[in-house]
Amino acid sequence: MKRFTELYRQRGFRLFLMILPLLLLIFIFSYLPLYGWIYAFFDYKPGRDLLDCEFVGFGNFKRMVMDKYALEELINVMKNTFGMSFLGILTSPLPMIFAIFLGEIGNMPFRKCVQTLTTIPNFISWVLVYSVAYAMFSVNDGFVNRLLMNWGIIDEGINFLASGDHVWLTMWAWATWKSLGWSAIMYIACMASIDGEQYEAAKVDGASRMQRIWYVTIPGLLPTYFVLLLLSIANLINNGMEQYFVFQNAMNKSSIEVLDLYVYNQGMAGINYSYATAVSMLKSVVSITLLFFANKMSKLIRGESVF
């Protein structure tokens, strides 16, 4: 007891106690699941005890590189993953631009209306988005095709959903439609914190509206933009899978299968849990490589680094 009170008197120990719950959470949710990696080394069949399953060592990893078709698939999957992520990063200033223009709208009710309407899609699940997409783009019943046919622009319905062309672009468009308003919120909040005196000064100096945006608003938002950009680079490999899962079909499969979806297709749909685990471990390796790369870049450019 006495020893405990002594310990307790130390400031560092009290701080440690405060952070302990968080450490526990991180341990439970970020480290404990790593135990699941063990499945990659067995030929796991659901229902059996892991130890009753055959131990295959690095067999699943070997397969990724030794098997011609698996390697082909993996390369294709990585191409899709990075392709779509880079497309996302290229267009990452969009929410900022959207927020700026939204801020310029003088009519408050209209502005709020636009903001609400663009934010709502973020809360619609991808399954529902797909049913909306189906209602819009199915060949003969989709209203887009009907409209085009009624206007006489096309004679036959276009099969938008079962097309293997421009998949990255269409997927990017859906994702942007869903998240634009939501991502803009951060910038809207940030814009509110830009000192109003700067605008007044700019006005006095005769700056036009565009100039005020260019010289005051954008520099004010850039730090936020860069933080978000760095975060999204760290998330480069996490495209998520719901969107691609609902939109996938035989025609677009070769350009829509990103890493997360590939892991799902191999593991859950292809009933090959062990191989899927091995592939998902690959993801961690790539993420760590990216992290070190970003860290190095930061050291070179800004002279400071995380580690």
């Binding site: 030929d43 069949k45 659901p46 229902g47 059996r48 005890d49 009753d52 055959e54 011609k68 078709y69 709020k112 903001q115 609400t116 934010t119 709502i120 973020n122 809360f123 619609i124 699940s125 399954v127 529902l128 189906y134 199915s138 060949v139 003969n140 019943d141 319905g157 099969n159 959903l161 079962a162 919120i185 809207i188 909040a189 814009m191 509110a192 914190s193 000192d195 109003g196 079909n249 035989a250 025609m251 499969k253 297709n265 859950m268 749909a269 292809g270 009933i271 090959n272 849990y273 191989y275």
Partner: protein, 580 residues
């Protein structure tokens, strides 16, 4: 400035709140599953309370073939409560049933009662000690042991992971072939339109397309101005093949169930062909769909829609062809049929429709009791009741005394009132629920419709019984068909023309693990390429895709799987001869 900041904060908070609001609304509309789990809680409480007073327990059922979910209510539930003291709650299996079952198995516990659709899954569950052996509860299961002994023996010897006990039992047992009624496959055409173009001769199944083209010329839009297609397909049933590409084979005496995923069995010659062979029926079916697509006879939504969408279109009169009588989406209403409009089987001259054959050990839609169940005795009693002849008479024909009854000689007949329920499939019986809802709850029955009941001396289903004189007359469409074909019904016609190919009874053992992996890899390739081939732009692309598919499949060692199945089939065939 302060004000602005506060506004921004408020705005953000408001948006988040609005967002949360819309999210709850959404989960209400989409969340059939959420509803089900939410409903689970009170249902359980009710069941527990009931268990104290009347000992009615709720058994959770996961049935792969089932298309329904929720607590079973209505007349069948009343009977179950009275006879066995159980209530059933069907868990949704949906169209990704295998994945859900695998997830349940990975968690180590299965629901009280499970209906599998693959013996491999049963074996995995046995290996994981997740099932109870029927042999340990023999005294609770007199009916099961009397009526399904063959099946129990088979499961004990072959699907018990070497333990020699029966952990599962097959359903839809059939020991004698039906002599009337209709087959599973038609193929069905819009008979009124077929008559209108002068009922052209159909020599082989390759002639269907031309006939469909002519039919399409006179009927290319339905009454609402929507486009009509010959075929409207769906992709959500695909397994290791495109499931709808089996069908030309199925009406030409070919079975896909006995020699693995990538081979077809010619029932006449007992020869096995790879589906990668250019002359296989699988490839011919793909070609048929491709040709149909070139002619604009294939619904372009085929690949992106589900079964429900496709049958919905059929129901709206937007298709001209159906492989099955049960996939016409309710287009054949009594009114339409009275006017001679509807789908009827139109047989090519050389037709050989597959009959799955005798199933002395039942279909592999097998039923098991989970070892995690809280009520093993009740579950066993339910299985026992389910395999009794009385319960099956009720499941096939509805409650006794209302839809059917026994005459003075103990022979069952359909009552006058019964025909009301038979003709109007939606009419509710006393206690709630239509005539067919009971058999659809788990979508398995102990005995096949045509199986003859020992107790009653007639097949289980009323359609095979002698008709009383008050039975309603056949409708105009059926009469027209009977006149044209000189037969009472499809099986009658096919028997006259030697048009049925019966599959041998040959229970093939579950596939070993390494081959299963190859199969699922090749399956993904086959599935994807099959659809691509159907949708190909021209012959060159079609041919290129075909070659790519074959090349990849061979590169992934599909031959290993095929060889294994060839050997297994021979063994199973010899084994099966013992029963027939």
């Amino acid at each position: 400035m302060r004000f602005k900041r506060a506004m921004a904060l408020l705005l953000t908070a408001g948006l988040i709140a609005a967002g949360c609001g819309s999210q709850t609304a959404e989960s209400q509309t989409t969340g059939a599953q959420t509803d089900a789990t939410a409903a689970e809680q009170p249902a359980e409480n009710v069941a527990e309370e009931a268990a104290d007073s009347q000992e009615v327990v709720t058994l959770k059922v996961f049935s792969m073939p089932s298309n329904t979910s929720g607590v079973v209510e209505g007349w069948w539930a009343d009977i179950l409560r009275e006879e066995v003291g159980v209530e059933l709650e069907i868990l949704p299996s949906g169209n990704e049933g295998v994945q859900k079952l695998q997830a349940l198995m990975a968690s180590g516990e299965l629901p009280d009662i499970v209906v599998f659709n693959d013996n491999k899954l049963v074996e995995n569950a046995v290996a994981g000690k997740m099932l109870l052996a029927y042999d340990d509860y023999k005294d609770l299961l007199p009916n099961l042991y009397e009526n399904a002994e063959n099946s129990l023996n088979y499961y004990a010897d072959n699907v018990s992971d070497g333990q020699g006990k029966a952990y599962s039992v097959g359903t839809r047992i059939l020991n004698n072939l039906p002599t009337k009624g209709s087959m599973n496959w038609g193929p069905y055409l819009r008979y009124d339109l077929y008559k209108q173009i002068g009922s052209p001769e159909i020599k082989t199944s390759e002639d269907y397309l031309d006939v469909l083209k002519q039919m399409h010329e006179i009927y290319s839009e339905n009454e609402d101005g929507q486009k009509v297609y010959a075929f409207s397909l769906w992709s959500d049933w695909d397994g290791n093949r495109m499931s709808l590409a089996d069908l030309l084979g199925n009406i030409n005496g070919t079975s896909y169930d006995l020699c693995g995923y990538f081979q077809e069995l010619d029932l006449e010659t007992n020869e096995i062909t790879s589906i990668f062979d250019e002359n296989s029926w699988y490839q011919k079916t793909l070609r048929l769909y491709y040709d149909a697509n070139q002619l604009g006879l294939l619904d372009p939504d085929s690949m992106t829609q589900r079964f429900d969408d496709a049958t919905g279109k059929a129901g709206a009169g937007r298709t001209l062809f159906s492989w099955w009588g049960w996939a016409t989406g309710g287009f054949d209403t009594a009114e339409r049929r009275a006017q001679g409009i509807g789908f009827m089987p139109v047989e090519a001259e050389d037709i050989k429709i597959l009959h799955q054959g005798l199933q002395p050990i039942g279909k592999n839609w097998s039923i098991s009791v989970s070892s995690a169940t809280e009520y093993p005795e009740k579950a066993m009693e339910f299985i026992n009741y389910f395999f009794s002849e009385d319960a099956d008479m009720i499941l096939h024909n509805g409650p006794q005394g209302i839809v059917w009854d026994l005459d003075e000689n103990g022979k069952p007949y359909v009552t006058k009132e019964g025909y009301d329920y038979i003709l109007d499939g939606t009419k509710e019986l006393p206690g709630g629920g239509s005539l067919t809802y009971a058999r659809n709850t788990m979508n398995v029955l102990a005995f096949e419709d045509a199986e003859i009941s020992d107790t009653y001396g007639v097949p289980f289903e009323y359609s095979y019984w002698d008709k009383p004189d008050y039975a309603p007359e056949d409708d105009a469409l059926t009469k027209q068909w009977q006149e044209d074909y000189g037969a009472v019904d499809q099986i009658d016609y096919l028997t006259q023309h030697d048009g049925i190919a019966v599959a041998p009874f040959a229970p093939v053992a579950p596939i070993p693990d390494d081959l299963e992996q190859i199969s699922s890899r090749v399956g993904e390739v086959v599935r994807t390429y099959s659809w691509k081939m159907v949708m190909a732009k021209d012959d060159a692309e079609y041919e290129q895709l075909r070659q790519e598919m074959t090349e990849k499949a061979i590169g992934m060692e599909v031959e290993k799987v095929n060889e294994w199945y060839k050997e297994q089939y021979q063994e199973a065939y010899e084994f099966g001869q013992k029963y027939s």
